[in-house]
Amino acid sequence: MDSFANRLRQAIDRSPDLAPSPEFMTALRRDLEAQAPRRQSRMRTVHWLGIAASLVLAVVAGVAYRVYVRSGADLARAAVGDHRNCALKFNLAEKPVTLEEAAQKYNPAFRVVEHLPADDVPTSVGVAHVLERHSCLYNGRRFAHVVLKYQGAVVSLMMTSAEGAAAAPGSVDGMNVTAFRAGTQVVFLAGDVSMTDLVALVDSISGPLARALATV
């Protein structure tokens, strides 16, 4: 017997009739970002040296922790497709290869994912454990793929080169997905966990990953 609340929550979360369209999510985010107040007034009084230092730090760190939008619905779908077909169903047309091999042949940045995130990732809601690391091809797009066990579910971290665009946080094809940009790469996280939990995982892994990728 399932608990009342869990069963009801699942029904709500899985209902395609209640899901927002990717187009709406993208448009909403774009509108909100356009209306967002930026640093003003008091910021002007900040010493220029501080600004310069911040800029240098930002460049060195290469951290662009921005869940990222534009026209990235296709890329997000590819990431969700890879998660489903590789991590959940083991149903890829092409056998995955090691990250080292993929780094040599396709994308040197994949080498970073051999060690990051660490095998155990503490987050504010629990620890995520790495189950598998490899590189795989889905729908013509190559990903560095880290499969994790997190909050009782299988969650995928998928990294790919950043040409094109990324995605708004939200539900894509019935799967929660979020993304951030790190250096020249876009990193997706997808899984059947709540968006809050997914964001907690992003909080834990984005900094080290982005710093490492900035040097590639």
Partner: protein
């Protein structure tokens, strides 16, 4: 769109932020990190209530714009989804009132604030669609509290603030709503031949 700041929920700390927050942080980045991840669930709630995609999108759009404009009232790290849901409910009730022009009536449920924990199990074998259909058959004011309590996991106090109703009404609606939902689900179980 007019923004009535009195309608925006204020955080219990009075809306005061730490000294470095508004001026030295990019408010958008914080909003993006804390508020945007809840849009999916917010939309599902809106869609459930209004049953119209265009209206739900409009509702969520206005909610998020108000939230962004009032984000200085939100304290980072607290229950952002509850805060957003409260705004959503205010926007929704404002719209309903302007359509219906009817004053809020005292709820007769106030008299019955039974709080015995009654959480009905859901028989196995029922589909998502059957569960949602059963929920849809009970009165909307019961649906609201069940969704906010059992799906969103808000506290009674958060629900009372979101719906602008007394705490006792939240509890009585929850009690009666769950009982009605249980009856609906029990009615389905024999038809499906499932046992609890």
């Amino acid at each position: 769109m007019s923004l009535d700041s009195r309608r925006i929920p204020r955080h219990p700390n009075g809306g005061m932020l730490s000294s470095e927050e508004p001026a030295t942080q990019d408010r958008w980045a914080t909003f993006e990190r804390e508020a945007l991840p809840h849009v999916d669930r917010l939309y599902r709630l809106a869609m459930w209530f209004v049953r119209n995609r265009t209206e739900a999108e409009d509702l969520v759009q206005e909610t998020m714009v108000q939230a962004l404009q009032s984000f200085h009232r939100y304290q980072s790290g607290t229950n952002c989804r509850a805060w957003l849901t409260t705004i959503l409910q205010h926007v929704r009730s404002d719209r309903q009132r302007s359509r219906m022009r009817s004053p809020l009536l005292e709820d007769p449920d106030d008299r019955m604030a039974q709080t015995a924990p009654f959480v009905p199990p859901i028989p196995q074998g029922l589909t998502d669609e059957e569960i949602l259909a059963a929920l849809a058959r009970i009165p909307p004011h019961f649906q609201e509290v069940i969704l906010l309590c059992d799906v969103e996991e808000f506290t009674y106090k958060e629900i009372a603030e979101a719906l602008s109703i007394p705490l006792g009404t939240v509890m009585s609606r929850l009690h009666r709503g769950r009982a009605q939902l249980r009856a609906e689900l029990d009615g389905l179980a024999p038809v499906r031949g499932v046992k609890e």
